[in-house]
Symmetry: C2
Subunit: 491 residues, 2 copies
């Protein structure tokens, strides 16, 4: 190399270092503002094995206060069959407001490896791509900043790096079977990465960085990140606009038109209850063996009889295979994350049944009515919830949603009964009375919810509960029916 | 059978059923009071394979409101090497106040199987027995009700049941290899169960139930449970008295006697920092491969320089292998459980490093001084914390605790600097000033803490931080030293 040229190179290197330093300092000052504004930031670092993802992450975080960021690693084990929907592990780790979460590879690698290893079909892969787009959009619309990086190296470079690492006894263990597999199939992997980026890059772009130029790649990553943060600090937290995707919806009646006169005599009830519970117990065994996850959602008016209904369904179940999740108002660490997070983290494992006593539908009922979220937020939620539930059913879950329904007179009678009965008084609160006064606005919200979120795979079922006995038998019958169908479909 | 005798049998059966029903109803009414008083209840159901644990649990819970209890199953896979201390999975599942948690087998089966399978040595088994006693006592002293049941059947009965289950094609899959192993080694298992119960039955008794008599066993279990709850409802929540076990303690100086004059020049600091960080980075790799868990605890005065110190230690670490856990005041779901729960659930996996930015020592500092717990509570905590940390080091963890120390003048200078610097103002709160006024009471509490909880395996190290540079180099040096020793010990 000519002397002149060498000097230029050195100059360039020095400049690069100075640039890196300046960018890191910028990020460091931004971190405080991110915290103050409660902005959550996601950095997804994908790329080839040996491309230098670890190093890149180190360059990004080296000046950050460790209290404000986290790194989560997602090693994909092609053999491990997960017990949760595939997005579970990524949703679980979304940062809370004011923090940065760096994913050391994530949903891209997960999808590509599973497809390449033929662990999922092409159709399942398509569904995953759609789910990824939904996942990213939901977070973006919920105010998350998302930066997606892909660290690229060519085949030759990868070969050289793998050789170097394996030749050194201290680092040899770092090369894993998956890395070698990826290298053997380099061309196919490249093709798959590229189509993945094409299909998930429209709403949130991918940034491909050159893994051969360490410092330049780090500079670019830091520049993208700090620019993104600057914009967000300037404009304020983003709130996504509502939009409607066409889901195949079931036609639901208006609540006002529901006939609530059905009832059972004590004798009819006693005759039917035990045999149904026995059948359900048997089905639970099959569900467990076939690893079918089941999600039962209970919503309903205060004093409609949710608790008693849940109890009748839960009693025959093997307690080792089900959970009841009572959903109260969110705690601070839950409020600090996208609203579906506290439900994602409560999903049952395959083969298990989870009964949600109140659900994510709080978003379009109490949160809408009490103004706990913005209008855009709850209007967007219908679609987001449909997506969420589709992801669950595509995972293989049975999803049923019960609206436990009574009329106003029945509610009043039950409130009065509770008030005069010392054993039941704890069940009645001031809030129940306040909510009762808002019956018409609730009814409007519920009607809209039923119209917009009753899908074929995750239907709403109205359970007429003026007569609790009738309601319990109906709920049991419908659960049994759904489980039988799911088992049949798996044969 | 004579007619008379048959009649008696039937009569007895009817009585038993009536008794069961009455006991269940009693438990049902108690459940509301448990909730009101915020009592947490643990029922541990251990026993032989095929003894009927599932059935017993079903009998206990069948009338309960599923919102107020939970069942957690702990299948022990003798092959699975856990990445957490063995009590982790049990501590993780302790109920919150007002709820009942039923353990479908638990720490007893875990200990016995591991010993029988020679996965742990006799010494490790002894340590586990001690840990179990500590675990149960800590929960009891924290106000938990604990009922321990062992469902017993003899060898002949077990043989018969295993045969019956295996002969039925529908239930065949339920018999697992472990069950067959247990049956083959019935006598040895019996012996081990018995000594386990002997060694863990002194402070909280075991109740052995006859698995051959299903309903009688259920009655007895329900009777024990309802009596225990009655007593607790009557006497109010139990608070354990403090006591002192002799731990081998290191002699610590009083804070007032600590020489804070040490300092480093900028040059000395620069010269030493990078090489130390490089060494730490290398050690982190070894730690990771050798699966040694590392727990670094930071406590210190406000403005002592904790954050900057943590940052210097964290920077060289591979972000995939460490976490910083900032500990703020507990959230409601954390307050609703024993105070160590939120730390148990944050432990690092083997091979990972966790840096706690504030720790469980809040119990004997802020909680003591602000009256957030009773005097008995914080006085008991010294011993409980020593036990907790011993459990961690016996698991193989490196545990280091830093007290980042400054004097009052230095604190004042830094507070003033923060106040006058807009970039740093967020670091200073009203509470910091209030805490500063309480310096003498804090100093007394800290001195006591240092005297009582600096053990050989989990020592306190005072980091003199009037000069932050000196403090950072000292912390790094000590971490490196401890890691090197741990690695050497594993060779």
């Amino acid at each position: 190399m000519a002397k002149e040229e060498k000097k230029d190179k050195q100059e360039e290197k020095r400049n690069r270092k100075a640039e890196l330093k300046a960018l890191r300092e910028k990020l460091m000052t931004q971190q405080q503002k991110i915290r103050d504004k409660g902005l959550p930031v996601i950095v997804l670092v994908e790329g080839w094995a040996t491309a230098g993802k670890g190093n890149l992450i180190n360059q990004i975080i080296s000046e950050l206060d460790p209290r404000f960021y986290n790194v989560t690693t997602h090693r994909i084990d092609p053999e491990a069959k997960s017990r949760y929907p595939f997005l579970y592990q990524y949703f679980r780790h979304i940062p809370e407001n004011g923090k940065i979460m760096i994913y050391d590879s994530g949903w891209m690698e997960d999808c590509v490896q599973k497809l390449m290893g033929r662990e999922i079909t092409k159709d399942e892969y398509k569904n995953r791509i759609r789910s990824v787009n939904e996942f990213e959009r939901q977070l973006r619309d919920g105010g998350y900043l998302i930066l997606k990086l892909f660290l690229d190296i060519d085949e030759e470079e990868q070969e050289k790096r793998i050789r170097d690492i394996r030749e050194n006894i201290e680092t040899e263990w770092r090369v894993e079977d998956n890395d070698l597999w990826q290298h053997r199939e380099y061309k196919l992997f490249r093709e798959t990465y590229e189509t993945f980026m094409e299909k998930t890059g429209k709403q949130l772009p991918w940034h491909v960085l050159d893994g051969k130029k360490k410092n330049a790649a780090a500079c670019e990553a830091l520049k993208l990140l700090t620019d993104m943060i600057d914009k967000a600090l300037d404009k304020g937290r983003y709130v996504g606009k509502p939009f409607e995707e066409k889901f195949p919806l079931l036609k639901m009646p208006k609540l006002a038109d529901v006939d609530l006169s059905m009832e059972l005599t004590d004798e009819e009830y006693r005759e039917q209850l035990k045999p149904l519970q026995k059948r359900l117990a048997k089905l639970h065994n099959v569900i467990y063996r076939k690893k079918i996850p089941v999600i039962l959602c209970y919503e309903g008016w205060d004093a409609a009889g949710k608790g008693g209904n849940i109890r009748r369904v839960a009693r025959p179940l093997d307690p080792r295979g089900f959970d009841v999740m009572p959903i109260a108002s969110p705690e601070p660490h839950e409020l600090a994350r996208q609203y579906l997070w506290r439900f994602w983290t409560r999903l049952p494992r395959t083969g298990h049944i989870c009964i949600f006593d109140r659900t994510w539908y709080g978003r379009v009922m109490v949160e809408r009515i009490e103004g706990f979220c913005s209008e855009d937020d709850w209007k967007r939620a219908y679609n987001e919830i449909n997506e969420f539930e589709r992801q669950l059913t595509e995972w293989g879950a049975v999803v049923l949603k019960f609206w436990i329904h009574i009329d106003q007179d029945t509610q009043l009678a039950r409130f009065n009964d509770r008030q005069s009965n010392p054993e039941k008084q704890w069940k009645l609160t001031e809030e129940d009375w306040r909510n009762r006064e808002k019956w018409p606005v609730y009814e409007e919200a519920i009607d809209e919810m039923l119209q917009k979120t009753s899908t074929k795979n995750a239907p709403w079922v109205i359970i007429e509960s003026n007569d609790k006995k009738y309601a319990r038998i109906k709920a049991l019958t419908i659960v049994i029916d759904a489980l039988e169908k799911a088992i049949e479909a798996r044969l």
